[in-house]
Subunit: 238 residues, 6 copies
């Protein structure tokens, strides 16, 4: 199976969804990552160009730990993302190339506009990957993505309501290793307080664990994307 993560900035792969990613790569699934912007506005403790490079290096390190197959940095301007047709076409081409069964992206009601635009662009690009005519097929044939899940950014995802919980209790150590790659973020947003950084991610994971009956869980919300030919099942799921 192939999963494609479409994130606004490079770091979320190592924060909110890293447990799920690792579970999938461990059983042999491919996980590919696309980061729209380089998070060059994250902080002012480094010049923007330098910061972009650091962010990308840190994300690559986390991806290595998690067994991610590939990560691409699209270089769109940080804090200025917009769900234009050009972006959708760009993402649609990537989707048609990678052919994921599952796409994971931002919750489209997030307060931060970069997240909203990325989340909606992922939904639109997944739909547009079905098209068989026009500019959409200049590069690749059409592709049906089966499911699209949104992840939560605690503190920013307004009205987020998960439908699926991934139990990550048994791989917390790996998750923490991946989280600890993001040294710039830990420095600028958490004053290098590792305990606070861990609890910023793992506190919510423990909460969703209580909600779903395990120790630590990552929450995901399945989004409605298109009249797929595989949305119906044969049996009720236990």
């Amino acid at each position: 199976m192939r999963l494609l993560v479409i994130e606004a900035h490079p770091q979320y792969i190592g924060m909110f969804i890293s447990g799920m990613v690792y579970k999938h790569t461990q059983r042999g699934d491919e996980v590919h990552v696309v980061a729209l912007a380089d998070a060059e506005c994250l902080t002012n403790i480094r010049p923007q160009d330098e910061l972009a490079e650091i962010n990308k290096t840190e994300a690559r390190a986390a991806c290595n730990i998690l067994g991610v197959s590939s990560i691409r940095f699209l270089g769109y301007p940080d804090t200025f993302l917009v769900n234009t047709h050009e972006l959708r076409l760009h993402l649609s081409n990537i989707i048609r190339e990678i052919k994921p069964e599952i796409i994971v992206s931002h919750w489209p009601q997030d307060t931060l506009s970069d997240f909203r635009e990325t989340g909606m662009a992922a939904i639109d690009a997944a739909f547009n990957s079905l098209l068989v005519a026009g500019r959409w097929v200049e590069k690749y044939p059409s592709h049906w993505t089966k499911k699209l899940y949104a992840f939560q950014h605690p503190g920013l995802s307004v009205n987020f309501k998960p439908t699926t919980f991934i139990d990550i209790s048994d791989i917390l150590d790996i998750k923490i290793k991946a989280m600890d790659c993001f040294k710039i973020q830990i420095e600028c947003n958490f004053s290098n307080d590792l305990e606070k950084w861990h609890s910023f991610i793992l506190g919510p994971n423990r909460y969703w664990g209580v909600e779903s009956g395990c120790m630590y869980a990552e929450p995901y919300a399945q989004m409605e994307i298109h009249e797929v030919h595989n949305n119906a099942s044969s049996y009720l799921e236990v």
Copy 2:
């Protein structure tokens, strides 16, 4: 796997959920049915006692076609169902006895009070089956039901929003056979117009098929019942 259907009246097993039931029995799952009332108020073309017997006989016939393991008629008064503690205790004892992984019951916002009360009683009884003390364990030890799904009664289920669709396209012939057992209903509500009767059930199934990308589907809504120790998964589902 064991499924338990808790329905207000005997006929729904052969109408709205029969496709799913048959899919499960065909792969070897056990399906048990409990009907709270005998639907003796369904029509006045027969005396109530006689009607109750007919309804039960017709339901048994449908259950035979569908491969249902058992059906019980609890004999509560039709149109007067109430989610009392006595009813919850009664249902909880049945749940503890049968030990289903999945319960299927009515949508708790249905307009008809019998459906509302049955749907809520199913939720409450599933929760109460966890209890380990008091009257709840006089007969049986505790049991954790993993999932509870509600089905729709088209025309009555206010704000019904399905989360799961079962593709029944390949077993429509069996579903029609099960539906055609309910001769009294076909007579009193459909003037023996079989085409209208079929489309009353299969029209909605075709609609949900369009919604979920297949020909015919039955819709189900997963209900939140309790902080189970198995609600979290290991992987995102395709």
Copy 3:
């Protein structure tokens, strides 16, 4: 009375809303149609220019059957529709020219971006038709549209909740005739399987018929557009 249909692509006039349209033209109402794009990306079994012509010809044929007064093709690029001020101005001018009491358009929460943008543009253009100054009145005086209804595209209209049902049971034959004009769609999306094509439209109609107490119904959702001077009634409606 005059109705104006604003649709993203030419074919919906003959699919989801044709029954309502025919009922209105039959009692003497005028129905006008505006299609924003020519659906030239619908399929790749014909070159795009040729496909655009076919789509328009088929839509005209359906309009003839339905008694539609006029259909205009605005020629915006298929799959790239955006609710810009230019589009709103364009639609507002058409609204001011035709002076409809009722506008019918797409549900603004549809998954397909063309539908979302068209639905929101219809709402915005209806509002802007009230304006009495600026570029809005360069061509025509202002016009108050009394009601705006959204129609459903089954499989794509997320959270669609109808408020009005039109009973089309007595004119199914005409609806089927109008549907059967769209030969390209029947070929590319339904493999020329007419029964599947019919049930794709009529299955949902039967479902909404069950929901509203008749055989076949088309569902519509009244949208809130503006503080009209005629939204209040004199009597409760039976």
Copy 4:
């Protein structure tokens, strides 16, 4: 046409819905009223028995002004109303006797339990009036109510969202006359400040007038009650 108002206490007929009632009686419709309790707990400035009599007398006076055909006081205990099967049966018998096309009652999410129970009992009794067997038909044959509308009690109706507005701008004088019948309420809750009393009712009416594009409007929410054979229309409504 016949309308039936089912209210928890006698006074609302002259407060929140009097404009609509008068519009209907003026065009020749029959309006019947049922008050479940006598509002004997409204205040302590009179003994309860005496207060019940005053409330009924004041309500009768308002009904006379509004042209109401009949008002019945069922004598259930104030502040202790419960939607029991006995109450539903009682109301169902009245519905079957009066045969209203429209029922008007409380919003079922009101904060005050008497309102919640009355509103739900009205919905359940309207449904039960369809039944053709058992205790339901001991007195009267079945009756299909076509529509059920809920009215708002400003300050108590949580999440009230109206679907229909009745323009009462031209009959404000009659509405004020009906309101002024309720002297006990004006005394105990409004310290005999008539201006405050009027604005308590007419302020909300002006608000809903702004919302619906007229001067003064009463808001109503159509409730879903049953799969009626007349919920679908032939035309979109202007």
Copy 5:
């Protein structure tokens, strides 16, 4: 200021709301607690009578730590709570006696019926405390409660959406002390694993801290109870 906590069972005072309670008692507010049932069905590792005594003793110990003014055990049967008029009258008398400005109780949409019934009974009793006539005033004069807040039981509170967050970061040590009083619960539900027990409460607190911009927070949802004469403020709150 006086706060009244109305809880289904004795232990929640020391679990989900203890931080808020301690903050209030520390600044001199009175906090009173009412527990409807004794939680005698919590576990079977002790006979029910004995368990009830243990639960009460443990709750008293937590109340001592938190500076609670009084705790009352009403002795209603565990797992069988119902929002009857008798219960409302009982609670209304306590409210009228204690005269709280704020009531804190369960979320009325909780999955566990004891919580639902207690939460609704608290809302109804707060409303009924306004009444000035009938049985309601046999013991005490009327009382206006200004605000009613619901707390969350993580894992059980369906659709819980908090409106207010209490920052408890500076008193975590006291909260942990209060939590550790509930030895029976820690034994039967957490196998005496203190770390798991702490994270069951503090994980959610950390999550809500992230959501509200502090380290640890308890979430509360303000409920609508009545048209109070003090719901409006003079200024927007920072």
Copy 6:
């Protein structure tokens, strides 16, 4: 304390929010106003240039009455507002300059696109004012706005649900004075009927007074903007 009002057109400061504004300036708070467009499309009874000047003059007069510290007119084109990054940057610079604790703006679900775009731009600009890098800090350092409230435009604000009510009963005379500055609006939309004009604003205020337990109230809805370090409180608010 400083408040910043961000409005699409100059007049709302004197209509829907003037009571709140005056209460704040009276206790010594600074209120600053930004109007995006000059409402030059409000009416055609004056040329657009002249109308823009009149609108600004009238708004300045109202601001004087209300004690507003400053009002800026940004000169964006009326009826063509769009939440672009340029607008967000413009507003963010103003926010960083004025440093408000509270921002007040439009409800983002308003029917009128100018209101929607302004409301969303205010939310985005408030968030962007946190940023410490890139174009955002070319002019000013970052600033945390603590709260953002949306106001209602009765008749246009779809699904508006207030969370906060400001009691303006004691300053109605000032509010009326401020309202009466807008002579052009009173002429073109209200035919110089002052009573109708007053009730257009004060009728809704009376309604929200009934909803919140006072005579006249202005409603506000607190919006979720960002994970602030001050969203959590120390105590439950009475």
